[in-house]
């Protein structure tokens, strides 16, 4: 199954189960959870089902395209089911069947893995799902977001698309994954991986990034004061990415880390507060 067919399969599968097929968010994010279609929609009471691809950047995971699994930017397939249905595990397992896996032939497990995002003030309980020893999905019941207890509870399924494709195709490296019949993942992403790593690990200018961090924080605060929640949130996303760049560059000490994360969380929390306040009016 080609990489793009894997995406089509998931889109179709979840569309048939009532999900709104959203599109990727157009800012740098570390995970699909940061997409407003996740973060804002899991707050409050309204039911919601969505699914979408989200390119995710984690500068510190970059390996100059030298590691078979680790990359600066990867693709997540994100599904949100709110409230979590009673057959949520079966729905998930059926999506694996839709990819053509005979589940009796494989070892599928749900191993405890509780997820937490300190910047989003969010955490949940759940599992990492492994397929023959390889982690392919993060399965989470969101308990809190923006520091607020959630009710109802959303289930979040995050598929690692590269991992799955590697497995389905028997590829040894992510760069060998067939995107379609005659184009490989590496043809599209190898050069950009190397460039991004070169930038993040060697060329990023910490002084300027610190300055950007300050500016984004001020702008976010300004937006929140004006009650502009989404723009404020977008600056929080930029802050998060700037923080990740500084971190990859080795410019953040252990003590600073807590402080910086705290500053981003404060903005996100305020966004959540205003969102909930509006829903309750």
């Amino acid at each position: 199954m080609n990489f793009q067919d894997l995406i089509f399969t998931l889109e179709n599968y979840w569309a048939q189960r009532g999900c709104v097929i959203e599109q990727p968010y157009d800012l740098e994010v570390g995970a699909g959870t940061m997409h407003p279609a996740t973060f804002f929609r899991v707050l409050g009471k309204r039911p919601w089902r969505t699914a979408f691809v989200q390119p995710s950047r984690r500068p510190a995971d970059g390996r100059f395209a030298q590691n078979p699994y680790r990359v600066y930017r990867h693709y997540q397939y994100q599904v949100i089911l709110k409230p979590s249905p009673t057959d949520v595990q079966d729905l998930y397992l059926d999506s694996l069947r839709a990819m053509g896996l005979d589940l009796k032939e494989h070892d599928i497990r749900f191993e405890e893995d509780n997820w937490e995002s300190p910047t989003l003030g969010a955490w949940g309980t759940g599992w990492q799902v492994t397929l023959d020893g390889l982690e392919i999905t993060q399965f989470t019941y969101f308990q809190q977001a923006g520091g607020y207890d959630l009710k109802p509870i959303s289930a979040e399924l995050t598929y690692g698309l590269e991992r799955l494709a590697m497995y389905l195709q028997g590829a040894r490296s992510v760069f060998d994954v067939r995107w379609q019949k005659d184009v490989r993942y590496g043809d599209i992403h190898r050069a950009t991986e190397v460039e991004w790593c070169q930038y993040a690990f060697h060329q990023a200018n910490p002084d300027r990034l610190w300055e950007l961090f300050r500016l984004y924080q001020e702008e976010a605060g300004h937006c929140n004061e004006q009650g502009l929640v989404l723009p404020a949130y977008e600056y929080a996303l930029k802050l998060s990415h700037t923080f990740n760049l500084l971190d990859a560059r080795g410019a953040v000490s252990v003590a600073q880390r807590t402080d910086l994360i705290g500053r981003i969380r404060q903005i996100v929390r305020e966004c959540a507060r205003q969102t909930l306040e509006r829903e309750n009016v």
Binding site: Q66, N67, P68, Y69, R70, P83, S84, P85, T86, Q89, L93, L103, K104, E105, H106, D107, I108, R109, F110, E111, E112, N114, G124, T125, W127, L131, D132, G133, L134, Y141, Q143, L150, K151, P152, I153, A155, Y167, R172, G250, S253, V254, A255, Q256
Partner: protein, 695 residues
């Protein structure tokens, strides 16, 4: 009579909770069933990742035992002096609808027992759900509409007494007689009766009993390892984890390319154990073979596919490790020390290089205090210098749980002394309460100094644990420090340790000490450590009062405190102990107002009983046990000697109190009495505060 089955089907419950769940399940069920008037031949609890199960063999209901007990007034209030019931008792009987003839007397109270007039099935329906919903899990969650909280969502319930369904609810589930076998290998299963549960599930690839799964795992692994001339090398906790991760575990033997054997053994084991839950195979207990076990849930199907996936996953991680290992070899540990300046220890406390400098200085001073020989001291100092250096290696950054272990491996490769290499790994021990202690001397000393420095430094800047908040894990550091002290026959006192730490902090940290003249942090750290010592002794099973008595003497030498606590515990039934305690209390009462005044003792003014006590005290004092204790490195011997002396002294003290009027008219004599008691109290106090004992 029929068996009772209660099966709670859930989404995968974390493996780490299941051992405790199994145990509490049984205990809670026993209490609830017996309390509810039920009898059974045997009660079992079983757990799998997807099930919590209670099973009672031959459950029977005895209506006579199905009672609720109501507590009434105290017996002395319930009956008047004439023996007739008071209005208090009559009111209670009226309210509960009982007769005078039915009252039960127990522990000076009146009780009434009332029959529960309900059907046993109804009783079970009420009694079973709370057994499960009240299980203590360290982390719980909500799901769906978010109305309930439990370890994981509950999806089905089976409650059968013989052939009858016990109609009950738990969260949003309703009980029935329908269960499921292993996922992917079974559809729904209808049980006709409870008694067929275990065999039916086994037919559908579920071994409900953890003990059976353990047997299946251990046996098959052993056999498969022998085929390649090896033994399974079970790392700590892996077998338990696998038992609780599967309903029907099947091991497959797999291989990895031999070149990865050049990686440090602990890296291989850690990657297998923690990242993949794979089991390494060893040739002779020391060297690894290029084989490992992976495990699948369910019968031995798809071996080739499962093995290939697991191999790929393992090799991917080993590739990463290999790359980091190669990177690390370019810079030896000794050169890495200066790179510690790039890692912050704590904002105000500087970097790990600053910490290392303090650590070296402290190890130097402590080595002198302990009068270690030149060689041992220089080993310990070298260990201190290199102890943290592996934190700058790529492998430790990637696999933080290998801190110390990687340091040991690299130190060996780079020609450091074996004692130094061992010490680098050991100094992190004990990592938790029941963990093992260092085996190397240098690891012991560096570990001690490391914790002492961390505690001293954090207290100096006012970051102490408060209530349940202990973000820097200082309580664990304190426990570690005391476990190290208790684990070795050292006679270091907390006073000595704190004085040396204070000195080092002053030398190195003038800029951030709260105040150089402020002794308060030091005093607070002392009480903090005293509290940790108390906690450790409680963990060892000593009673509160015994601990209070044993840790009172100053200087506070933990090894001696432990010796004394043991001695007191051992002598619990010895009348001398009671005598000592009573004497100590009398002295304390009499001297409460007199202390701290110092009285002159004029021996010639004393009565014969008092003189005899004085002589005994002076004789004992000459033996100077405290000195003998702190220098001899034989806390047990010092403790024995002082104990015997006190036992001998004890009747003389009692005699003194019985025969002599302490606060007599004659001032000179009265003051001599008090002075004598002060001396005696001080002598007692060298062993323990006996007045704290509950006699």
């Amino acid at each position: 009579m029929s068996d009772l089955l209660f099966e709670v089907g859930a989404e995968e419950i974390p493996a780490r909770f299941l051992a405790l769940a199994q145990q509490s399940l049984r205990e809670r069920a026993k209490r609830a069933l017996e309390g509810g008037g039920f009898l059974f031949r045997e009660l079992e609890s079983w757990v799998t990742p997807r099930r919590l199960i209670l099973y009672a063999y031959d459950l029977d209901f005895d209506p006579a035992r199905a009672v609720v007990r109501k507590k009434g007034p105290a017996t002395r209030i319930a009956f008047g002096e004439d023996g007739r019931p008071t209005p208090a008792l009559l009111g209670f009987l009226r309210k509960e609808g009982g007769e005078l003839s039915q009252v039960i007397h127990q522990d000076e109270y009146i009780y009434l027992e009332k029959r529960i007039e309900r059907q046993p099935l109804e009783l079970l329906a009420d009694l079973l759900p709370p057994i499960v919903s009240g299980l203590p899990f360290a982390k719980s969650m909500r799901w769906g509409e978010g109305l309930w909280s439990f370890v994981r969502p509950v999806r089905w319930l089976v409650a059968l007494w013989g052939r009858e369904v016990v109609p009950l609810h738990l969260f949003d589930c309703q009980s029935g007689n329908t269960t499921f076998g292993l996922r992917f290998f079974s559809g729904t299963i209808h049980l006709d009766r409870a008694e067929e549960y275990r065999t039916t599930l086994e037919d559908h690839f579920v071994l409900v009993s953890p003990a059976e799964r353990r047997e299946r795992l251990e046996g098959s692994v052993e056999e498969l390892a022998h085929e390649v001339g090896g033994e399974p090398l079970w790392p700590e906790g892996l077998l338990d984890e696998l038992v609780f991760l599967h309903e029907y575990p099947t091991p497959f033997r797999a291989t990895f390319p031999e070149r990865y054997l050049e990686l440090p053994k602990d890296v291989l084991i850690t990657v297998m154990r923690h990242h993949q839950k794979h089991l390494p195979i060893t040739e002779d207990g020391a060297e690894l073979l290029p084989y490992f076990f992976c495990f699948r849930e369910g019968p031995a199907l798809g071996e080739e596919i499962v093995v290939r996936g697991n191999q790929e996953a393992l090799i991917g991680r080993l590739d990463d490790a290999e790359l980091f290992f190669a990177q690390d070899q370019t810079i030896p540990l000794a050169e890495r020390v200066c790179r510690l300046s790039g890692i912050s220890f704590q904002e105000k406390l500087g970097t790990l290089l600053d910490k290392t400098d303090r650590l070296c200085a402290l190890v130097h001073t402590l080595g002198q205090t302990l009068v270690w020989d030149e060689e041992a001291r220089s080993c310990a100092e070298r260990t201190a210098r290199l102890a943290k250096a592996d934190l700058t290696t790529a492998l430790v950054i990637e696999l933080p749980e290998l801190q110390g272990i990687i340091g040991r491996d690299y130190a060996q490769r780079q020609g450091e002394l074996p004692e130094v290499a061992a010490g680098i790994a050991d100094h992190y021990l004990p990592r938790y309460l029941q963990d093992r202690l260092p085996t190397s001397e240098s690891g012991w000393l560096v570990g001690l100094a490391d914790r002492l420095d961390t505690l001293g430094a954090f207290f100096a800047i006012g970051l102490e644990p408060t209530g349940s908040a202990d973000p820097f894990a200082l309580r664990r550091a304190g426990q570690g420090l005391l476990s190290l002290l208790l684990g070795k026959e050292s006679n270091l006192s907390l006073e000595t340790l704190l004085a040396q730490e204070a000195q080092i902090l002053e030398e190195f940290g003038k800029s951030w000490l709260l105040s150089q003249t402020d002794t308060a942090p030091c005093d607070r750290l002392f009480s903090f450590l005293e509290g940790r010592l108390r906690f450790l002794l409680e963990e060892k099973g000593f009673a509160f009062e015994v601990i209070s008595a044993a840790i009172a003497p100053r200087p506070l030498i933990p090894t001696q405190a432990l010796e004394r606590a043991e001695r007191i515990q051992r002598e619990w039934d010895n009348p001398s102990l009671e005598q000592l305690a009573l004497s100590a209390k009398r002295m304390k009462n009499i001297l409460r107002t007199a202390n701290p005044e110092i009285f002159t003792l004029q021996p010639e003014s004393l009565e014969p009983e008092a003189q005899s006590l004085l002589e005994a005290v002076l004789r004992t004092n000459r033996l100077d046990y405290s000195a003998c204790g702190s220098m001899s490195n034989q806390p047990a011997a010092a403790c024995d000697a002082l104990w015997s002396a006190l036992v001998e002294l004890s009747p003389k003290v009692s005699l003194f109190f019985d025969q002599v009027l302490v606060l007599c008219e004659d001032r000179l004599r009265r003051e001599s009495h008090l002075a004598l008691l002060q001396k005696t109290q001080k002598l007692f106090g060298q062993f323990a505060d006996f007045s704290a004992l509950p006699f």
